[in-house]
């Protein structure tokens, strides 16, 4: 058996261009890997039978026919799209999402559709109506979510690169738990058209990869204005790939959240302190940004409020967005909604109801505005802020049982920046050799500044050995 499936996207593109490898060999290795692991890990819900032939047709395009794992909430024309809900069990979209359309036009191939939390409601991939995905690094553990299938596909080399989507943490948290890289673009940078809507004011489709470099290649293919999404920015997106190697010399970096009561003294906090030292050694100016319970200059507003704000805003939008699945048009009745979706519909309906909207939804938007202000001030002093992606290592399968707020607690540290629409990336920054599980470093910056985020992440990745495709950290 070959090992072409273990290549990164950048390596694959290089080897295909140099004719060192063929698409047929690449797909043979990927197919073998998927055949072996898919039953065990439950990564792909649907596989594209035409993948190889489409790849051959696209061999001359920039992305050379490389196989991508696509989260199952991207509508793919002619390929079943379920968002991991039985409500859409038989839904075959008549149109293509903007993101997958741009990727294919650039030469990529949809290899398969990956498992996720149903409707992206969760941070474990355990709420999928098709069963949980297991963490390839240690199958007793959760992969995180909601883009858990895509992160697992990368970790087990069941694809070359992947796409996920994030509302708050859904790209970065599974990337952290699976030891992969996930880039959440600025809200409005990548089109939501053709992505099953969850929290419409937060949803950000974004690339997931084995390395930072890989995520920038995909970002460059999908970013930019889309006439089918009125919330996309008309600004010309930067080419992240070209700026990757600019380094962090002179960058002003703030360390956030590691003084939070839940984080202090944990392996996650320790890994961030180590990361800070790496950045310092590379010429950045690093300092702690103290936590604060009120809005004050040069302090981080506590993420504690974000849980409430995010829950109210996102549930409200969910209850509205899921109204269309009324059982009349998409095959399956409303009884097919799982418990988590039902909980969210009920909570969201409540918070938007007359007499309660002011108390909850409007109030939440006001607090959301405080985070906006907090970041606007902080980014006048710092280029990027770093923090743990998640409070700790992956949790065991079943951890979400009887814990409806599981996701919110796991995503607490990324919720404030997601509510503010900021870009962020998670890169591996720690590893537990006993469990073979990973920690993630979350790097965020101000709106439209993906370039600073990926530059810093690349520098970190290149000068540490946490990334299993680059270094050897065992």
């Amino acid at each position: 058996m070959g090992t072409l499936h273990t290549l990164t996207l950048a390596q694959t593109l290089h080897k295909l261009a140099e004719k060192e490898i063929t698409l047929a060999d690449l797909y043979r290795d990927i197919d073998t890997q998927v055949d072996v692991f898919n039953t065990k890990l439950n990564v792909y819900l649907t596989r594209n039978e035409q993948a190889l032939s489409q790849a051959q047709e696209r061999a001359c395009l920039p992305l050379c026919g490389i196989p991508l794992a696509i989260k199952d909430n991207f509508l793919t024309k002619g390929i079943r799209t379920t968002a991991s809900s039985k409500v859409l069990d038989t839904f075959i979209p008549p149109y293509e999402s903007t993101v997958t359309s741009r990727l294919q036009q650039a030469g990529a191939v949809i290899y398969g559709k990956t498992n996720m939390d149903a409707w992206a409601h969760g941070s474990s991939t355990e709420t999928s109506d098709y069963g949980p995905t297991k963490n390839p690094r240690n199958p007793e553990y959760l992969p995180g979510g909601s883009s858990g299938g895509s992160a697992a596909a990368l970790a087990e080399n069941m694809c070359i690169a992947a796409m996920g989507s994030e509302t708050a943490g859904s790209i970065r948290q599974p990337s952290a738990w699976c030891g992969t890289v996930g880039l959440k673009p600025t809200y409005g940078r990548v089109s939501r058209a053709g992505v099953v809507a969850m929290g419409s004011s937060l949803d950000s489709p974004g690339p997931m990869g084995k390395t930072v470099e890989d995520t920038t290649i995909l970002f460059d293919a999908i970013a930019g204005h889309d006439k089918y999404d009125g919330t996309t920015s008309t600004q010309h997106p930067p080419k992240l790939y070209n700026a990757l190697k600019k380094g962090v010399r002179g960058m002003r970096i703030g360390i956030a959240y590691i003084d939070h009561a839940d984080i202090k003294g944990t392996p996650a906090a320790h890994s961030i302190e180590q990361a800070a030292k790496v950045f310092e050694s590379l010429g950045a100016r690093v300092e702690h940004v103290p936590l604060s319970s009120t809005l004050k200059n040069n302090t981080m507003l506590t993420p504690d409020y974000a849980i409430g704000v995010y829950t109210v805003v996102q549930r409200g939008e969910v209850s509205s967005n899921l109204g269309r699945y009324d059982g009349i048009r998409y095959g399956n009745p409303r009884s097919c909604f799982g418990d988590e979706a039902k909980r969210r519909i009920m909570l969201g309906t409540f918070t938007l109801s007359k007499g309660y909207a002011d108390k909850y939804y409007i109030k939440a938007q006001q607090v959301r505005n405080l985070y906006f202000k907090n970041y606007a001030q902080l980014f006048s002093s710092y280029d990027i802020l770093i923090s743990p992606t998640s409070p700790g290592f992956a949790l065991k399968l079943g951890a979400t049982k009887d814990n409806p707020m599981f996701g919110e607690l796991e995503d607490m540290l990324v919720e404030p920046s997601s509510l503010s629409g900021l870009p962020g990336i998670s890169v591996p920054c720690g590893h537990d050799s006993k469990t073979n599980l990973y920690l993630g470093l979350n790097i965020i910056s101000s709106h439209w500044n993906e370039e600073k985020v990926t530059r810093a992440a690349y520098a970190f990745e290149q000068h540490t050995s946490w990334n299993s495709w680059i270094g050897d950290h065992t």
């Binding site: 509508l75 799209t81 968002a83 859409l88 839904f91 979209p93 008549p94 149109y95 999402s97 939501r192 058209a193 053709g194 992505v195 099953v196 809507a197 929290g199 419409s200 004011s201 006439k227 089918y228 999404d229 009125g230 919330t231 409200g316 939008e317 209850s319 509205s320 899921l322 109204g323 269309r324 009324d326 009349i328 309906t349 938007l352 109801s353 007359k354 909207a357 939804y361």
Partner: protein, 440 residues
């Protein structure tokens, strides 16, 4: 009858479909009434498919502001779209995109001969699909046609300033005229591109709003609007006379029964769970943009009528001539040309209205020519007329005899013969006088 002691308190909601080329939030064709088949002008957005996102139609926003300006409204500098949630099979997304607390236009006024009516708000939303209840293969089924789903729809809401069926009708007609003058909607009530709703209640003291209201819907002509209001006034009077309060409800006008029929009660205010649509960025307008639209407003029927009257056109003609069915550019050109050639404005108006001239097909020059032909007389001297009269009397001894024996109506025949003989356009009065003098 105690009707006279109570004042009808009526507020109206008028929906008008804008005739933009594409729909409100997608690129689909906006032409639901001429669609050859159901569900052909549809796409993922208006079908409410997963992942479909609305993008606002700029033209529709502009036209709504224009309408607001024509109605004397204040235009919002910051506006937004909200989601209005309710379940109905013809509503593809489970919510309608509408405007809740920041409508595009507010606080306007419409003048009618029965008094002014304040406009509370004008807002923009999307129309729904249409249900068809029919039988297919012997089975009763409900079919949905989404061709209309997502068509831009403007809602014009008045304050409860209307106090009679006549005033309601005058108001609705005025709205139709304005909308047609602005050329933003066909405002065809039969097809449903203009829909009327009236909230009707009766007050003992017209300065105090009653504690109930009845919403009358399904009204697709001005006549039905009047009839529905008269019917409701009588129905509610009876209930109030009995010491009861009419139920707060929606009633539909039945053309066949000539009555309003209860549709659903509205005891609990509905909860639409409005919230700002996160898919649509807020709308911002600067003063320069609003002023540009204001300056581009066409002359509205009211102003046009006043101007026509100032040119010497009778009030009756001016009212008719200022309606949007006449192209005011052509009318103005004809009036201008007429003035240069000494043709009276009122005569031109008379010709256009009485001869049913289609101003979209007739040139101003042609209108003036017709008017001139009808009203200008050739100058013919008395001797020419006198000789023609004599010749005719000699040629028509029988008719002359009949006249002299008392058959007065024969004069018309003789008159015609004289006119024919002269062969020119002259005042028949002069000829008739001379003819009668000679015959005496």
């Amino acid at each position: 009858m105690s009707t006279s002691s109570r004042t009808p308190i009526i507020g109206m909601e008028i929906h008008v479909e804008l005739k933009t080329r594409s729909k409100m939030f997608c690129g689909c064709k906006n032409d639901p009434f001429h669609a050859p088949k159901p569900n052909i002008y549809t796409c993922p957005v208006c079908l409410g498919m997963p992942g479909g996102l609305p993008v606002a139609n700029k033209k529709a926003v502009e036209w709504t502001i224009t309408l607001g300006l024509a109605l004397g409204c204040t235009i919002a500098r910051l506006s937004k779209f909200d989601r209005k949630h309710y379940f109905y099979p013809d509503l593809s997304k489970g919510y309608q995109i509408s405007q809740y607390d920041q409508p595009l236009c507010e606080h306007g006024v419409v003048h009618t001969e029965f008094g002014d009516i304040r406009i509370r708000r004008v807002h923009l939303e999307e129309d729904t699909g249409k249900l068809q209840h029919t039988t297919v293969d012997g089975k009763k089924v409900s079919l949905i046609d989404f061709n209309r789903c997502g068509v831009p729809l403007v809602e014009i809401v008045t304050e409860p300033d209307i106090h009679s069926s006549e005033q309601a009708k005058a108001y609705a007609k005025k709205i139709q005229q304005i909308v047609r003058t602005l050329d933003i909607s066909d405002a065809d009530m039969e097809k449903g591109s203009m829909r009327l709703e009236a909230n009707i209640s009766l007050a003992d003291d017209p300065t105090v709003l009653p504690n109930y209201k009845v919403e009358a819907k399904n009204i697709n002509s001005f006549r039905f609007l009047e009839q529905a209001i008269v019917f409701e006034t009588e129905r509610q009077t009876e209930i109030l006379d009995d010491g009861n309060i009419p139920t707060q409800e929606t009633r539909g006008w039945s053309e066949t029964k000539h009555a309003t029929i209860a549709q659903r009660t509205k005891e609990d205010a509905e909860d639409y769970r409005y919230f700002p649509d996160p898919d649509l960025p807020p709308l911002k307008f600067d003063d320069a943009y609003i002023e540009l639209l204001r300056n581009n407003l066409p002359e509205l029927p009211e102003a046009l009528q006043a101007r026509y009257e100032s040119l010497g056109i009778t009030s009756a003609f001016a009212t008719l001539l200022s309606s949007p069915e006449y192209d005011s550019n052509i009318v103005d050109e004809a009036l201008h040309l007429g003035k240069k050639n000494g043709v009276e404005a009122n005569n031109i108006a008379s010709v256009i209205i009485n001869k049913k001239i289609d101003t979209s097909k007739t040139s101003a020059k042609e209108i003036v020519r017709i008017t001139t032909e009808m009203y200008t007389k050739d100058i013919v001297d008395g001797t020419e007329i006198a000789s023609a009269v004599h010749v005719v009397i000699q040629e028509q001894p029988k008719a002359v005899g009949d006249y002299k024996s008392g058959k007065q109506q024969v004069i018309g025949f003789l008159l015609g013969m004289v006119m024919k003989k002269i062969g020119k356009k002259i005042d028949t009065k002069i000829v008739q006088e001379m003819l009668m003098k000679v015959l005496q």
